[in-house]
């Protein structure tokens, strides 16, 4: 049987059709349009239709195009790292922690360094919750401390040490020039230097965070767009129970 490769679809199976738009430092004329076409050609596109050309002034032109790619993805190559713990609701998590851990879990959260976007971490932690799920502050099984925005890595770690935290929750929303990577890396390095890394779970989140990226950066887990308190709470409860069972 022929292996089914994954290819883009416009209106004919696996026709490879994609929509693109981009700006080039060229004039909006036939020459510029040809530059756009050549760029797409070099990227391996066929059937290139540069259908839109908009003058951006100051020597730039915006192109809009449709084209077919010959690239295909082999489904066998798709390997995703996702948080794999089951998701329980608040009552279930509370019951689970009571049964398997027998004490409340302490988590300390913050939006670190220059980042002031607290809505994400609040969505996870605040009493009133988000999208119909209460935040960790409402959980009986959690002692949730939300330090808010623009907290330095040092402050966060100090507090986590003082509270004897089970988990640290970090949010990073601003990503321009990969500042989130820099900030998250700095936190982990400090934690290692201060020998805190293995004492608690390190969890990060934000719109450009994936579990995979989190693992790469040395975190235990990462949560992106569309995560809820229930996901994080279940994750912490299950992993902590596991660790306690294994006596680590």
């Amino acid at each position: 049987m022929k292996k089914q490769f994954i290819r883009p679809y416009g209106d004919t199976s696996a026709d490879g059709k994609m929509q693109l738009s981009f700006s080039l430092p060229v004039k909006p004329d036939a020459h510029g349009k040809e530059a756009a076409r050549l760029l797409l050609k070099q990227m391996g596109f066929d059937d290139i239709d540069v259908c839109g050309m908009r003058d951006l002034n100051e020597g730039f032109t915006h192109f809009i195009a449709y084209a077919s790619t010959s690239t295909a993805v082999d489904p066998a190559n798709i390997k995703v790292k996702v948080v794999e713990t089951a998701v329980m609701d608040m009552e279930e998590t509370d019951a689970f922690v009571k049964e398997h851990i027998g004490r409340t879990l302490t988590v300390v959260g913050a939006c670190i360094e220059s980042d002031a976007h607290t809505v994400g971490i609040d969505a996870i932690m605040n009493m009133k919750g988000y999208s119909g799920r209460f935040g960790l502050e409402r959980y009986k099984s959690f002692n949730a401390i939300n330090m808010g925005a623009q907290v330095t890595s040092e402050e966060l770690l100090a507090r986590a040490r003082a509270e004897n935290a089970d988990a640290i929750l970090v949010s990073q929303v601003v990503t321009q020039k990969n500042i989130h990577i820099k900030n998250l890396t700095r936190l982990i390095e400090l934690a290692e230097a201060e020998r805190l890394r293995d004492k608690m779970l390190f969890i990060c989140g934000g719109p450009r965070i994936s579990h995979e990226l989190a693992i790469e950066l040395g975190y235990d887990a990462g949560f992106g767009t569309g995560s809820y308190s229930t996901d994080v709470a279940s994750y912490i409860a299950i992993v902590m129970a596991e660790r306690i069972r294994k006596g680590s």
Binding site: Y9, G10, D11, Q19, D49, C51, G52, R54, I64
Partner: protein, 518 residues
């Protein structure tokens, strides 16, 4: 409430002129028939199938009869006669004509009562089937609730009926209420209806009975899943208006593009031929409970949407009268209109609001078919998406009947799966955002919108009165519609028109006229 302050006496004058124009075609509708009308009769009698080379059996039979000049009595009697004498099914008769040179016009007449018994039986059967389809549709609406206003209408046009079905199902699940399968270019000029499931068309997919069936089944499936009746539509207009209307009736299409004016102006089909065909095809639509849709929007793809706005209104009024003559109820008249104003124009939205309200108010019971920006759609998909949003805004604000969603790729290609999805997202968002906005607003009597609507109505009235004085054919010959000149003896298909004999008989037309009370 957004309500225009229209001059009722002007409305009455315009309608009277339209009635005068359409009322003068009795000679054509009563005195003539056409090859496609006769093929329709055969199809309704149960003749289906095609030769190996693709020629449909109804064409085999009618070609023989037409060539020999023996269609004057109508094809029904000829075929029934042959079936009785040869003791053959309809398909067998057709095959025999082709294979064995059977000449059915040369057969002696069977006893008249036998012929009429057979015709009655076949007519009853088909009429019952079509009524059944109508009942089925009504039952589903009953069960799932009425269609939303405006209904979300999208097209599929891959050229391959199986791809079309996937795309249609995806669109229906996303929120589409009506799916149209665009026809392959130039099908409207074919003097036959292709046969079977088809997978290669350009700019659209062939309209065939089998394709109708495949799509109907796909949509019924989604209707049950989504608990929302998903309507199907296709195009009758062209050289096979009544045949396609009949196939639509059999396969439970719910709406059909049905407009002779479109065929005349945009496909250069002979005016006499297609007005005649339209008359019978609309009866079939009416009997089957199928909503017709007209093509006034097309005028604005070639003429200026502001300057020639009145031609839309005038044509709507003419189409209304033609539809009434065929027994179509106002509730089933999807008269056309389009948002084709130049986006570079100042106050384009206010102009459009005036035009859209005018269509709405002149035909308060009709599900106006509202077409999206196409002419000024460009390769800039982002801009086109915005123009479509303004169109959706006006559609909801003025409560148009059917909103044919614009696609951001209108100027580029027939819609890709994602284009259609984004179009539905666009409409759903805008419809929801401005849901009851209209109820908050009113128009000052001396407002621009009011004055503009009045102006269009006045221009339409004067135009209709001129056409009424001149005659429709003469006006068309002069290029009064959409700047296109169409003499009544020009164009395609006139050779398929013939005068009926005294004893011409079309059992379906008679029965339908009786049941439709026309």
């Amino acid at each position: 409430m957004l309500q225009l302050d229209l001059d009722i006496s002007l409305v009455d004058r315009a309608r009277a002129a339209a009635q005068k124009i359409t009322g003068s075609f009795g000679w054509l509708f009563e005195g003539y028939s056409s090859v496609t009308i006769e093929r329709t009769v055969l199809r309704l009698m149960g003749l289906d199938g095609a030769l190996k080379d693709g020629k449909p059996l109804p064409n085999v039979v009618i070609d023989q009869l037409h060539k020999s000049g023996s269609l004057g009595k109508g094809a029904a009697i000829r075929l029934a006669n042959a079936m009785l004498l040869q003791n053959m099914s309809a398909a067998e008769v057709a095959t025999a004509i082709n294979d064995q040179n059977l000449d059915i016009s040369a057969l002696p007449p069977a006893p008249a009562d036998e012929i009429h018994a057979l015709l009655s039986e076949l007519t009853d059967k088909m009429m019952a089937h079509i009524s059944g389809q109508k009942a089925k549709r009504e039952e589903m609406y009953q069960r799932f609730g009425e269609r939303r206003i405006p209904a979300i209408y999208v097209i599929v046009a891959t050229g391959n009926i199986y791809e079309d079905a996937v795309q249609a199902k995806a669109a229906a699940r996303e929120g589409a209420d009506v799916i149209a399968v665009i026809r392959s270019t130039a099908q409207s000029l074919l003097d036959y209806v292709p046969y079977g499931a088809t997978t290669s068309g350009f700019g659209g997919t062939f309209a065939t009975q089998e394709n109708f069936r495949i799509m109907r089944q796909a949509l019924d499936e989604v209707s049950e899943d989504e608990k929302r009746y998903i309507s199907l539509t296709n195009y009758a207009s062209g050289l096979c208006m009544p045949e396609i209307a009949a196939l639509g009736a059999m396969e439970r299409l719910d709406l059909m593009l049905n407009d002779a004016m479109y065929g005349i102006l945009f496909r250069d089909i002979n005016p006499r031929r297609t007005l005649l065909d339209q008359s019978f095809s609309r009866m079939i639509n009416a009997y089957a409970g199928i909503e017709i849709q007209t093509g006034e929007d097309n005028y604005l793809t070639t003429s200026d949407a502001v300057e020639k706005a009145y031609t839309v209104t005038a044509s709507q009024l003419i189409n209304e009268q033609f539809a009434l003559l065929s027994g179509v109820k106002p509730e089933k008249m999807g008269l056309g209109h389009a948002y084709e104003i130049d986006p570079e124009m100042e106050n384009s939205f206010s102009f459009e609001l005036a035009h859209a309200l005018l269509s709405r108010q002149l035909f308060p019971h009709s599900p106006i078919k509202y077409m999206p920006p196409t002419k000024f759609a460009s390769g800039n998909i982002f801009k086109t998406h915005l123009m479509d949003a303004m169109f959706n805004f006006v559609g909801q604000l003025t409560g148009q009947g059917v909103q044919l969603l614009g696609m951001m790729t209108e100027a580029i290609h027939t819609p890709h799966l994602a284009d259609r999805s984004l179009a539905i997202e666009n409409a759903k968002y805008i419809f929801k955002a401005v849901k009851d906005l209209g109820a908050n607003l009113s128009l000052a009597p001396d407002s621009f919108v009011n004055r503009r609507a009045h102006q269009v109505l006045e221009e339409a009235t004067l135009f209709l009165e001129k056409v009424a004085a001149d005659g429709l054919f003469s006006a068309m010959a002069k290029g009064e519609f959409a700047d296109i000149k169409r003499p009544d003896d020009g164009g395609k298909g006139l050779d398929g028109v013939f005068a009926k004999d005294e004893d011409y008989y079309n059992p379906f037309r008679e029965r339908m006229m009786k049941e439709l009370k026309i």
